[in-house]
Homo-oligomer: 365 residues x 2
């Protein structure tokens, strides 16, 4: 069997602690299942800045490009709040997304039954919630040029960002959304602001045409992004797959994640296009939560989102579908048993730390 | 007493019905309080397109510019979904905002106690909620150039929108936020995406400097806009005044509005700068809800948001503070009595139509 190359970028804050629990699962899979994972590790974010003066070094970028999959923890923290814009911790993540061409960000917003009560929404609105948000990740206002601050003189400056989308970028992300929908409830809702943005007009057209040309079996709906935000709060279960641009995806997926009551538990996958020859796609897996500097290093962080991200890695990068299912089931079982980290603690549950949570999941796996 | 000139733009959908109830209040104030309102009326949105081929005619724009205040209903509907971009219904509203230079959009997100149960959030999270969102309304990606779709050939198009903010634009909207905060809980939270947008970096700097220079008595906090969306869902009562740009304001104010359970009830004010000589500011008042074409013409629309928008008009355009308070109290009293339109119906309440709701509020006024 050929080796399965994983590149680990634990990053800052609680990233390293969460990654530690994934490392245990990898070791177990190598030993018990002969999974053949080979891991290497690098620095990203604030810790990379401290070591190299950049949010990720060229050497680590090369390793990320060469790996079958990248596992990413989290970046940032108050320590680096005033480093120059170009080398801020987030720059490492943005460069990975751009250079690996990870245009498709999959963000499941699911509500673990054991956690429905933790949502700020009424439980009946979120019980059984299972939305997949597909966010375009390499275009839009995140990367468009010009992106600059100009000095106009007289104490006036001008901040400029540019939202740009080309037909092919919209087509390929729409394709991912329709393909995913076919494996689920077969419904896609596309969100933009076509009433004020020209990129939204084009987005709407291209999604509509892609649907007509290749995916007319899937149910397609269009919604303005502001109305979409409202509907997520009002009646989230109306959605199956949501497809939207980079910035709207950032906002909407965070709102959706918060709805579930499972924020500390949600994974994400960022995928590139399948290689023409090998069919392999570059990929990065990361928890939706951030670096949580306030609780970093205390051994209390919830490693579930990181572990669930590894489950997505098993599924999408290595086609280890059964293993992915098993790992996700292990997480659900541990929750059902009332084992909880502090962030998801509930009456009558048993509170554990990061390592104990990882052990419990491994025991169920 | 000089006349108080109001220009009414009922627009499409339920706009005209809702405006009808405000007209009754205006007539009453003229008669019983000698308020001296003089009203004129025009067309905006789809109905203006049908009449003139434009989303608002030049003649009506002149009237809007000359009036002391504009009362705006709602625009749009499926009938006009495929009219050309330049004359779509929303273009009328956007032109009014831009040409009247209504840079400050005030969107209160309050939870009427009688309606807390109607929120999708747990009642304890929204009871007593009172947030004021201050959205920049004449800049950002809504108006920046280039804004276009380019044909690249080979079946490829490129959609472009430009986010632009100058120092003075951020300064003046921050000023409004700090001034407003002083009349409330004295706290401002500024939201942007400085970690990915240069306009966000500038926004953050200018808000910070404005605070230091003139408003250091107000408590200031900065939050990333995606985290802000999360926090609105998680713990909305943590906020007093939120200040943010045009696009984030569009998204965040809709989410906030939905949280309250009072969406059909929320007003907004869009204000210009005070005139150097007269101190008067141009202003437009409009409900947060849209044109609701599905229920238009049936006499069942909730007129409260339109009436509450008129209360904001009394307060901000005419300094009729007591009258504004009384009108808002009349709305609350009617709700407390269990009188409801269909959209806010609850067990044991009495369901009424648009006209009856307007009459009930007038009777309490
Ligand atoms: C860290 C930041 C640059 C990033 C983004 O804005 O994309 C984050 O919010 C996310 O959603 O992954
Ligand atoms: C109608 C539309 C152009 C408008 C906007 O996007 O500003 C609306 O959503 C609003 O929030 O007032």
């Amino acid at each position: 069997m050929t080796a399965r190359n994983l590149f680990l970028l634990p990053g800052d804050g609680i990233g390293p602690e969460a990654m530690g629990e994934v490392r245990k699962i990898i070791a177990y899979m190598n030993e018990a299942m002969n999974a053949g994972f080979v891991t290497d590790e690098g620095l990203v974010g604030g810790c990379a800045y401290d070591a190299h003066g950049a949010a990720i070094s060229e050497a680590d970028m090369q390793k990320a490009l060469a790996a079958d999959a990248v596992l990413f923890g989290a970046v940032g923290g108050p320590k680096w709040d005033s480093v120059p814009y170009e080398v801020r911790p987030e720059a490492g993540l943005l460069r990975l997304r751009k250079d690996l061409q990870l245009f498709a960000n999959l963000r499941p917003a699911i509500c673990y039954p054991a956690l429905a009560a933790a949502s700020s929404l009424k439980p009946e609105l979120v019980e059984g919630l299972d939305i997949l948000i597909i966010r375009e990740l390499t275009g839009g206002v995140y990367f468009g040029e010009p992106k600059e601050i100009i000095d106009l003189g007289n104490g006036q400056k001008r901040g400029i960002d540019t939202q740009v989308y080309d037909t092919y970028e919209i087509e390929r992300i729409a394709g991912v959304a329709f393909e995913m929908a076919r494996t689920r409830q077969n419904r896609v809702c596309s969100m933009e602001k076509r009433n004020v943005m020209k990129s939204g007009v084009l987005w709407n057209q291209v999604v509509t045409e892609t649907h007509k040309a290749k995916y007319s079996d899937v149910q397609l709906e269009h919604m303005l992004a502001d109305a979409g935000g409202m509907q997520l709060v009002r009646q989230p279960k109306q959605f199956d797959v949501i497809v939207t641009d980079n910035l709207f995806g950032d906002m909407l997926s965070d709102v959706a994640a918060m709805l579930t009551g499972s924020l500390g538990m949600l994974p994400s996958a960022s995928l590139g296009a399948p290689d023409g020859k090998t069919g392999k796609r570059k990929a990065l897996y990361e928890p939706v939560h951030g670096s949580a500097p306030d609780i970093a290093g205390k051994g209390i962080a919830n490693p579930i989102a990181m572990i669930a991200s590894f489950a997505m890695c098993l599924r999408y990068s290595f086609n280890l579908v059964k293993e992915a299912d098993d790992l996700e089931k292990a997480i659900a079982n541990v929750l059902d048993k009332g084992i909880r980290t502090g962030d998801i603690m509930a009456d009558g549950a048993r509170q554990v730390g990061t390592v104990e949570m990882g052990d419990a999941i491994l025991a169920e796996f």
